[in-house]
C-alpha cells in the first residue's frame, strides 16, 4: 500500500474521511499519551487530555497549515491542553500525592506494572520540582526526542528560552537523582 503524506491525509479528513483521521494520528497515539501522562502525573487525567486534544485536532484541522510539521502542531495542542488541565484542577503542587492515592490504572499489564512501579516512582520524584514549562521542555527534548528548534516551535518560544528551561529542568532533576542514588547506596550498605 502506498504511504500517504500527512498533508494528503489532512485533506482527506477535511473531505469527511474518518478512516484517514485514524491513520493520521496512529504514529502519535503513544507519544501523546505519554506526554500527557508525564505532564499531569495521572493516567486518567492524561486520557482526558488526549480526548481534548483529538477533539481540538478534528475540529480545527482546517487551521493546520499544510507543509508544516503535523507532529509539532499536535504536540503543541497536547502541551497546551495539559497546561489547561493542570491549571483547571490546580493539582500541580499535589500531583505526586494524588498519584499515590489513585494508584495505577488497570490498563497496565500487571507484571509489567510491578517492574515499572519503581521506575515510575523515580521519574515522578525527579520531575516533582519542575515548573510546567520546564517539565514540558524536558519531556519534549529528553522524553520525545525533539530538537531544540522543534521544541521552540511547539512551545512557541525562542530556542534561547528552550535552552534556559531545559538547563534548569536538568539541574533540578539531577538534584533529585542524587538524592535517589544516595538513598539507594545507603540501602545497599545496610
Amino acid at each position: 500500500m502506498e504511504m500517504k503524506s500527512e498533508d494528503e491525509l489532512v485533506e482527506e479528513v477535511l473531505n469527511g474521511n474518518h478512516r484517514s483521521f485514524e491513520l493520521l494520528l496512529q504514529p502519535y497515539r503513544q507519544g501523546l499519551l505519554n506526554m500527557a501522562n508525564r505532564m499531569t502525573g495521572n493516567l486518567e487525567e492524561a486520557k482526558e487530555v488526549c480526548q481534548e486534544v483529538l477533539i481540538k485536532v478534528y475540529k480545527h484541522l482546517d487551521k493546520f497549515k499544510k507543509g508544516r510539521s503535523f507532529k509539532s502542531w499536535i504536540y503543541r495542542i497536547t502541551v497546551n491542553s495539559a497546561y489547561d488541565s493542570l491549571r483547571k484542577k490546580k493539582k500541580y503542587e499535589n500531583f505526586v500525592e494524588s498519584q499515590k492515592k489513585i494508584g495505577f490504572s488497570a490498563s497496565y499489564d500487571p507484571e509489567k506494572q510491578l517492574l515499572n512501579r519503581e521506575i515510575r516512582a523515580k521519574i515522578e520524584t525527579c520531575l516533582r520540582d519542575l515548573s510546567p514549562k520546564e517539565k514540558a521542555t524536558f519531556l519534549l527534548r529528553d522524553g520525545e526526542g525533539f530538537s531544540i528548534e522543534e521544541a521552540s516551535e511547539i512551545l512557541k518560544c525562542s530556542s534561547m528560552s528552550v535552552r534556559t528551561h531545559l538547563s534548569r529542568a536538568r539541574k533540578k532533576i539531577r538534584e533529585q537523582f542524587e538524592k535517589i542514588n544516595f538513598a539507594n547506596t545507603r540501602e545497599v550498605r545496610r
Partner: protein
C-alpha cells in the same frame, strides 16, 4: 572559563546542545578541575538514566480506549472548513475587505435615498408655484371624488401623477 561559568553550561553540555568550540574549552577546563569533571559525569549519568526510565515506562493505549477516543473526537463536530480556504492572500485581508464592503453598503443605505430624492427634484424647495397650486383646494374640487396630483421634476422632466380620494388616501387606478 571559571568554574561558575563551566557549571552553568554543564546541563546543556550533557545533551550536546552547545557549540563544539565551547565543548573543547570545557574539556580543557576539566583537565585541571576534577570537581567540574565530576559534576559533568553526574549530569551525564542523570540524563542517561532518566532517558532510560522514560523509555522503559512508556505506556500505550488499550485498543478499545483509543478507538473510543477517536470515535468521540469525530462525533463531537465535523471539521469546520473555513469559507476562505481557497483565498490565496492573507485571511486578514479578506476579512477587512468584507468589513469595508459592509460599511460601504450601510453608508449607501443611509445616504442613498436622499441623493436619489434630490436628483428627482423631490426636495421640498423644488416645487414651482404651479405645482404648489395643486395642493390648494378650490370650491369645485371639494365636490370631486378623486383628486389628481402631478409632480414634475425640473431637471429630468420626470412626471409623477398621484390620484387621491376624498380622504386624501392614495387611490389605486386599475
Amino acid at each position: 572559563m571559571n568554574c561558575r561559568k563551566v557549571q552553568s553550561l554543564l546541563p546543556l553540555m550533557a545533551g550536546s546542545e552547545i557549540p563544539k568550540s565551547k565543548i573543547l574549552s570545557l574539556k580543557a577546563h576539566f583537565e585541571n578541575c576534577p570537581k567540574c569533571q565530576q559534576e559533568y559525569d553526574s549530569y551525564m549519568l542523570t540524563l542517561k538514566k532518566t532517558k532510560e526510565w522514560l523509555a522503559k515506562d512508556r505506556i500505550d493505549w488499550e485498543e478499545r480506549d483509543w478507538q473510543q477516543v477517536l470515535k468521540r473526537a469525530i462525533k463531537d463536530k465535523k471539521p469546520e472548513v473555513s469559507p476562505l480556504v481557497y483565498w490565496p492572500f492573507k485571511k486578514v485581508w479578506a476579512y477587512s475587505l468584507l468589513g469595508m464592503l459592509v460599511v460601504a453598503l450601510t453608508l449607501l443605505f443611509i445616504i442613498g435615498p436622499s441623493i436619489t430624492q434630490k436628483e428627482m427634484g423631490l426636495g421640498s424647495e423644488k416645487f414651482t408655484e404651479e405645482q404648489a397650486q395643486l395642493f390648494r383646494s378650490s370650491p369645485e374640487e371639494s365636490e370631486q371624488e378623486v383628486v389628481s396630483m402631478t409632480i414634475v421634476s425640473k431637471e429630468t422632466g420626470l412626471k409623477i401623477v398621484w390620484f387621491l380620494n376624498k380622504n386624501f388616501e392614495l387611490e389605486v387606478k386599475e
